[in-house]
Amino acid sequence: MMMTRSGKLNITDLEKMETAEVISFDGLDPVFVRRLMDLGIYQSARITVLNKLSFDRLFLLEVDNVEICIRRDDAEKIEVRK
């Protein structure tokens, strides 16, 4: 398992089909965080990495039966806990 510098886990550290709980959104634009929340990615939400697409550039996540695709750059900023 790869760890980020601070020892924190983010979405990109998860394996395919692994589930984790969202802890924080560090360094993401508040407007974008709002959009994530609208779609069900909120603090304490349980997300599953369904797939990594386009050479691992995009992450397909599942939360509450909704499937959402975000970029790696943004996924890296979403801290999670297994």
Partner: protein, 664 residues
């Protein structure tokens, strides 16, 4: 009676709207299809109208199309709100519902997609849900087009009861903030509850400030700041928005646990269908698949082999020339009309309008196929495939939606950019989207291809389209390196399930396109053809003169030399391009009139190519420019949107002439 129709994006709101009214608004299987609000009469309910609002997750907007919702709630007079909910995503949908219920206006929940939910093995206890939320509710399936259900819905709307606004137990700090803002608004007269406004302001709904006086804004912002600081310091949530969101979420969790009942054990099938999507979004295969799909669409619409569109157009043309024009001509001769009037009708009106109208079958076929593609949910996969590519040019994968819309018409494409939250990125898209070839430019390509490049129809056609796309991308790159530095924004895409599109809806969409096309031919193009014919047949020497002595010829001859380096510096080509500013279809009408049906005589193969290239890229039509003006609210960018394409078209056409001049 007016009822506002509100709901999340892609929950079947437009399908419901079409089903309950006599209209057919555009339906696509992705978010952000409805960008304007539309009003239509409700079936079986005399004197009642639905206002279809753009889909939104929140009352407070995070992109411009969602701002319409706040504005309508605050400003419009309405008798009730009808909230369309996707039953299969109840939890997420209820966030908007709660905000509407907090408003305290008469509201009815329409729990759509009852059938899909049942297929997943669940049902909603509608009565219990209505009671829990203190509102009216009904479960339906808008895809079933039966009248009984319609009457049932109308009945519930008629009996919509007004309930007291729902009040959630927000955190004490949030409540304190609501009270403070409420006190600040004490003396204002507003049509909605002040507590609701206060809560919306705390959530960051900037759209509300425009209804308040400026002096208050500062004080309110101070309160919001204080609440936010306390929320973070006391570790209630990560942000103020988060705190409000969490309270709603907890409440929703409780409601859903009680009202969503499992009736059958079923494996939840993933929307992202692993098997199909492994190919559709494959890093290497995805793009070729997309091109193949598009190429086959163009082949069927315009090509020879399997070319349904061209086949139909051929017969249409035959009918127009051999039957209509011939018999009208004979009739005119019979009633002794000749000379000037005969020319105006046969060589002006019928040639001009007919020259454009013959493309109707091809355009209908193209739009039928594009609507079919949109309805399936494939476009979301294309957005995934294209994101990597498009992000390099300062776009994101989602820009593909306005781009595909732009293939139809630039005007709705410019409006579709409202779903792009980032301002810079939106402006960048608005300024570059006119390069995508709209359907009005199609007749120009078809005419020239059939005369000069007949063997390579689908390829030349695809080439022109690709050129438009390339210019769009390169311009975007140029802008993102200059005017809009750092425009790169986030990308978030919801994966819709593959759905079987409804034939009915698609047919109506194609029909709607046809109707607009015919309408345009009967108005803009008709008037344009008459004016053009008159100007080219009247001159300082009176009527019945040689076209070379006409007013049009004299005026255009001043401008024409500009185009000499491109190979078409004559007055006919110049006039056609100038009149094309009215509507791009007029280009073909003009050519038909000015060359008196013999366009081939005016061009060489090379100058035909440069002309087509120039015509595909130059200044957007007047409607597009007007839309750019209203969407950007900037004279500077509006002027830029006319000058830049002219320069680009000129340079590209010149380059094409130099390169192809070596071969042709």
């Amino acid at each position: 009676m007016i009822f506002l129709l509100a709901g999340n994006p892609n929950v079947g709101k437009s399908t419901f709207f079409n089903y309950m009214t006599q209209s057919h608004v555009h339906v696509g299987n992705y978010s952000g299809v409805t960008v304007e609000k539309r009003v239509h009469h409700i079936k079986h309910y005399e004197g009642a109208n639905f206002v279809d609002l753009p889909g939104t997750y929140n009352v407070s907007p995070s992109s411009e199309d969602e701002g319409v919702v706040t504005y309508s709630l605050l400003n419009e007079s309405y008798n009730g709100i009808v909230n369309i909910i996707d039953s299969t995503h109840l939890k997420r949908n209820l966030h908007l519902t709660l905000q509407l219920l907090e408003l305290g206006a008469p509201t009815m929940l329409v729990l759509n997609m009852k059938d899909s939910l049942r297929n997943d093995g669940y049902v909603i206890d509608t009565k219990k849900l209505a009671k829990k939320l203190n509102t009216n509710a009904i479960s339906i399936s808008a895809r079933n087009h039966d009248k009984e259900q319609q009457l049932e819905i109308v009945d519930s709307i008629k009996n919509m009861q007004a309930f007291k606004a729902i009040e959630l137990e927000y955190h004490p700090v949030v409540k304190w903030g609501i009270q403070r803002i409420h006190d600040l608004l004490r003396y204002d007269t507003l049509q909605v509850k002040k507590k609701w406004l206060a809560l919306q302001l705390l959530e960051g709904n900037e759209g509300i400030y425009q209804f308040l006086d400026l002096a208050k804004r500062e004080k309110i912002e101070e309160v919001i700041k204080e609440v936010e600081t306390r929320i973070i310091k006391e570790d209630v949530a990560l942000s103020l928005k988060g705190a409000i969101f969490n309270t709603r979420r907890a409440f929703i969790e409780e409601v859903v646990n009680e009202c969503l009942i499992k009736v059958e054990e079923k494996e939840h099938s993933k929307y992202f269908n692993q098997k199909i999507d492994r190919f559709m979004t494959h890093p290497a295969l995805g793009l070729p698949i997309f091109f193949l799909v598009m190429l086959s669409i163009y082949q069927v619409s315009f090509g020879g082999f399997l070319g349904l569109g061209s086949f139909l157009t051929g017969y249409f043309e035959l009918f127009w020339d051999e039957v209509l024009v011939r018999y009208v001509g004979e009739f005119l001769t019979l009633i002794d009309i000749s000379g000037f009037t005969y020319g105006l009708i046969i060589d002006g009106v019928l040639a001009g309008v007919g020259g454009v109208l013959v493309f109707l079958p091809q355009i209908v076929v193209l739009f039928f196929l594009l609507a079919l593609l949109e309805g399936t949910g494939y476009m979301a996969r294309v957005a995934i495939v294209m994101d990597r590519f498009l992000s390099k040019f300062g776009f994101n994968g989602k820009s593909i939606v306005p781009m595909i819309t732009g293939l139809g018409c630039t005007v709705p494409a410019i409006m579709a950019t409202r779903t792009i939250a980032n301002k810079k990125e939106r402006l960048l898209t608005i300024l570059t989207i006119p390069f995508i070839s709209c359907s009005a430019r199609l007749p120009i390509y078809v005419i020239f291809i059939s005369i000069f490049f007949d063997q390579y129809r689908a390829f030349v056609m695809m080439g022109i389209y690709l050129l438009g796309i390339m210019v769009t991308l390169l311009s975007a790159k140029l802008f993102s390196l200059s005017f809009f530095k750092g425009a790169g924004s986030n990308f978030i895409l919801e994966m819709p399930p593959y759905r079987l599109p409804q034939l009915r809806t698609i047919l109506y969409q194609a029909f709607e396109k046809a109707r607009r096309f015919v309408k345009k031919a009967g108005t803009f193009i008709l008037v344009g053809s008459i004016i053009l014919w008159l100007l080219s047949n009247i001159g300082p020497g009176g009527i019945n003169i040689a076209q070379e002595d006409s007013f049009l010829s004299i005026a255009s001859s001043f401008v024409a030399p500009i185009f000499t380096p491109l190979g078409f510096g004559n007055w006919q080509a110049t006039s056609s391009l100038v009149s094309g500013f009215l509507a791009k279809e007029v280009v073909v009408s003009s050519l038909e009139i000015l060359y008196m049906g013999d366009i081939a005589s005016g061009f060489s193969t090379l100058s035909a190519l440069t002309y087509v290239v120039f015509a595909s890229l130059y200044v957007p039509c007047i409607s597009a420019v007007a839309t750019i003006r209203s969407e950007t609210a900037s004279n500077k960018w509006t002027i830029f949107s006319m000058v830049y394409p002219f320069v680009v078209a000129y340079i590209v056409a010149l380059v094409v002439r130099l390169i192809f001049g070596l071969f042709i």
